[in-house]
Every structure is written in C-alpha cells, then in structure tokens.
Amino acid sequence: MSVSNETSWTAKVRERAVGALPPEKLLADKQPVYVASWIYVFGVLSLASLIVIIGSGSILALKGPGWWHFTSVGHFFNSTHLWSVELFFFFIVIHLWGKYWMAAWRGGRARVWITGAVTFLVAIPCALTGYVSQQNFDAQWISTQAKDAMNAAGIGAFFNLLNFGQMYSYHILLLPAAVVALVIAHVLLVRKHGVVPPFEVRQTSETVEAETATPPVEEVHS
C-alpha cells in the first residue's frame, strides 16, 4: 500500500523550501564572474562581527552583568564585545553604502535590501540597550539622556532605559534574536536571488528611472 504525502504540511514546507533554495544554491560553490570586488567582503565581515559579538556577549552573560567590572578577564571580554560591536557597525555601514551604489534591489531583490536595512535599524537599539546595561557612569548618563526621546515617542512605558533588568532582557535576548532572525532571512534571500548583476551600460539615459525602479511589490515577489 502506497503512502501519500499530498496532505502533509511537513512535506509541503520541505518541497517549498528545497524548491526555493536547492542545496547547490544554499551552499553555492560558484559565483557570477562580476562578483569580484573588495566591496563584497563587507557583507561577510558584518556577519563575522555579529558572530564575535554573540560569542563575546555569551561569555559575559555566562558570568553575569557585574563580572567584567571586577576581573581583568571579564574586562577583557567586555573589550572584545565593545570592539566587535564597533567593527560590526563599521562593516555594515560600508556594506549598505556599497549595496546602495549597486542598486542591489534590482531584479526582484527589494526584500534583500529591506531585510538588510531593518537589520541595521534594529541593531541600533540593540547596541543602545547594551550601553545602558553597562552599570557604570556611561550607562547612567546615556539612560537618563535618551529616556526623553523614548518617552516623547511614547515607548517609554515598555522600553524604560532606566530599568536595568528590562534593558538587560532586551539586550541579551529580544533584540539580538530579532537581529539574528533578520540576518538569517537576509542571507537566505541573498542565496535565493543571487548577487545583483551589474548595470547594463549600453542603455540610454531615458531608461535610467525604469532600470533602477522596482516593480510593485506583488510583481517583485512573483
């Protein structure tokens, strides 16, 4: 007796996932010839920085938020956490500028741009909550100054920079989870759509707007 999988949700999800991202696309061993510039390095460097951030942050989390103030080893790992954050933002800003000048949203890649841009924007409060979780003068000053913007925007009720416990939760769980989820989505979309090809230089100036334009969302995603 044969077993039918036509109604299996699992089978449908698997077939759709494999269809969108077959193994040779997910873990590609070839790239288009035009992917040959140093600017492409900054995407993977951003990703590598994020890995170091999570690694150093995990060590700090293992020992608790006060550890790094009283031990040289703790201070060392706090320093690695700080510098990996600085590098992450440095790399991701260059990566975003590079992708802007490539108009990397062309060819149905709008979601690739959007997930990258949102990742950057979510990383900002992720870092801010880290600064106010430091338990030093920096944290005192930043939290008491930045609270006014949060309160004025109406989010102070559930994003209270003066509440260390709440900010620590945001910093080590909620916001990093959001950043990681966005990065995973971003990378999978890059693997699915591939790296945007170069502009076709033979085109005339009249086609400029059309060439860099992105069709309506439903068309982009079709």
Partner: protein, 317 residues
C-alpha cells in the same frame, strides 16, 4: 515607460545568464570570522575599554551637599524636572507634542513617581529612633500646601547662599523654614551614609533591578551633568554618541544627535518628539529606498558602479 516595459527590464536582472567562477562560501566565512576575531583581539589588547565608576546618591551628597539638598528640596515641593515631567512618571504636564499629537500620553503614567513621597518622605520615614525628625515630617505633611510652599521656597532661596562645611553638613542662613530645616539636613545625613541609595530602590519584593527612581533623582541634580561635561557627553557636545575618555562611542547615532545641534531643535521644548518623528520618517525612507523615485536612480546617475564592477566592464570591452 509602461509598467510592462519596466517589468521586462527588471526581469533581466533577476537571473544571471553569464559566466561563473569557483567560490567557497564556507571557506570565505571561516576566513572572515578569523580575520575579525584577530582584529577584535588586536583592538582589545591595544585599547581595552572604558569603565568609569557610576555615581551614587551617597557620593553626590558627599561631594556636593548643597546641590544635593537643593535638588531634594525641589523634589519635596514638586518643582524638580521629574516632578514636573508628566507621563510616564506623573500627570504634572502633558509632555512633548507635535501639533495635537502627544505620544507621551498614549500609555499613561506607567511608572508612577511622587517625588515628595518617594524621594523624601518615605526614605525619612524608614529611619528608626529619630522622634524629632518624624515629628518634623508629620508637621510638614499636615501643613497646608500654601504653608509647605512658603517653607520650601524660603529654604530654596536660602540655599543659594548656603555653604558646605568640612564635616559634610551645610550651613543655611537663618530663616522661616518650618520643619524643612529639620527634614533636609536629616535627608542629607541619610544620603551621605548611603541609606538613601537603598531606600530609593526599596520595593515590595526582595529582588530589584529597576533604577528609575535613583537615576531620575540624580539626573535632576548637577553631578551627572558636570561629569558628562568633563567627558564631552552633553547634548550640546553631540551627547550620547560619544564615549567616556577617547574611545569611539555610538557613532551610528550621529544623525539622531545631529538634529539636537541645530535650530529649531536645539531650543525647542518639543525637541525629542520632533527628532524622533524625523528619524522615524527617514528610517522608513531608508527601508523603502527601492520604491522611492529619484533616490533609487541616484546609483545610476552617479556611476560608482563602474568602479565596483570595473573588472567586469573591462572584460566586456
């Protein structure tokens, strides 16, 4: 150009039909992690990281007792920055607004703070074995609002001429301050002994992680601000995007802090809500760049791409 033609052109960019070259994704990622780890370790060894000790109410009361007592008096009579803040701390004002929009009021008073009760009265009530002090607190509480204001106003005016003594106490010119002249020195002594730091964190439960009250109390005084000025962290000095010492701070906040440096934001009472609104619009525009006419065409008009893909174009030529 019609939508169909636009779609057809965009279609050309969907799939690359040209040549490929060998590529090792895992190898590249591994090397990147190694390089970044090495760079982070190098920066850590060379520069370490800043860690300026936090201020406490105790240190504030000891180093600048006049400023502490002046701030505490404004907490008692409800004229401090926190007492007049509005949501989410109290109903003393409506907060900042853009036209008729007041986001600050949307979630109400989520962190209720009565500065007189929470910052002065309750901490003093927790001190045992001081009947004179407790009588003074009772006398203040039972007085009319007008009488309370007369005492605190006279005391605040006198604090302008107050002097700090070598033993940490302050000398205030004689005047009609009622029980305030007993309450404030007692609060100062309590703070200098470290009691107020603990009292401001007291809650209904044993564990505590919310520093809203002591931070607001301290932020109303001058200690944090004077330290921040020395560390070039004031709002007029590009504020929180800087870091203590010479370390790089949150430079990615430059556009947020930029607005606070220019008019009308630098002088507006609604600066925070205005800046957040502008940044909200700009953030949305940033996300939606692929759909914004003109902005999405700049990369074609200014051909930086010819530099990025110079090898590709050279090969085609």
């Amino acid at each position: 150009m019609s939508r169909r033609e636009r779609r057809a052109q965009d279609e050309r960019y969907r799939t690359w039909k040209g040549g490929y070259r060998p590529y090792d994704l895992i190898k590249e990622a591994s090397i990147a992690v190694g390089v970044v780890t090495g760079l982070v370790l190098l920066l850590t060894i060379l520069f370490s990281s800043p860690d300026e000790r936090p201020s406490t109410v105790q240190s504030w009361a000891r180093t600048d007792p006049v400023d502490f007592v002046t701030t505490a008096t404004t907490q008692l009579d409800g004229t401090s920055g926190t007492a007049t803040y509005g949501p989410p701390y109290n109903h003393a004002s409506d907060g900042q607004h853009i036209l008729f929009i007041r986001p600050q009021k949307w979630f109400g008073v989520s962190h209720p703070i009565d500065t007189a009760q929470d910052f002065v009265i309750a901490p003093l009530r927790s001190i045992p074995g001081q009947p004179v002090l407790q009588s003074a607190v009772s006398a203040y509480q039972s007085a009319s609002a007008k009488q309370q204001a007369a005492w605190t106003t006279a005391y605040e005016n006198a604090l302008g001429k107050a002097k700090a003594n070598s033993d940490g106490s302050i000398t205030v010119p004689a005047g009609s301050y009622g029980p305030v002249s007993t309450i404030m020195p007692a609060l100062l002594s309590f703070a200098q002994a470290g009691g107020l730091d603990g009292a401001l964190l007291t809650s209904k439960q044993f564990y505590q992680t919310d520093y809203t009250k002591p931070l607001l109390f301290m932020a109303d005084g001058g200690l944090l601000e004077s330290r921040a000025q020395a560390e070039h962290l004031l709002g007029s000095q590009w504020g929180i995007m800087n870091e203590t010492g010479s370390f790089p701070g949150q430079s990615w906040l430059w556009l947020y802090t930029f607005w606070y440096q220019i008019k009308p934001f630098s002088t507006s009472a609604n600066a925070d809500v205005l800046v957040m609104a502008i940044m909200g619009v700009l953030s949305l525009a940033f996300i939606l760049v692929p759909f914004i006419p003109g902005v999405r065409s700049v990369p074609r008009w200014i051909p930086v791409y010819k530099l990025i893909w110079r090898d590709y174009y050279r090969a085609r030529a």
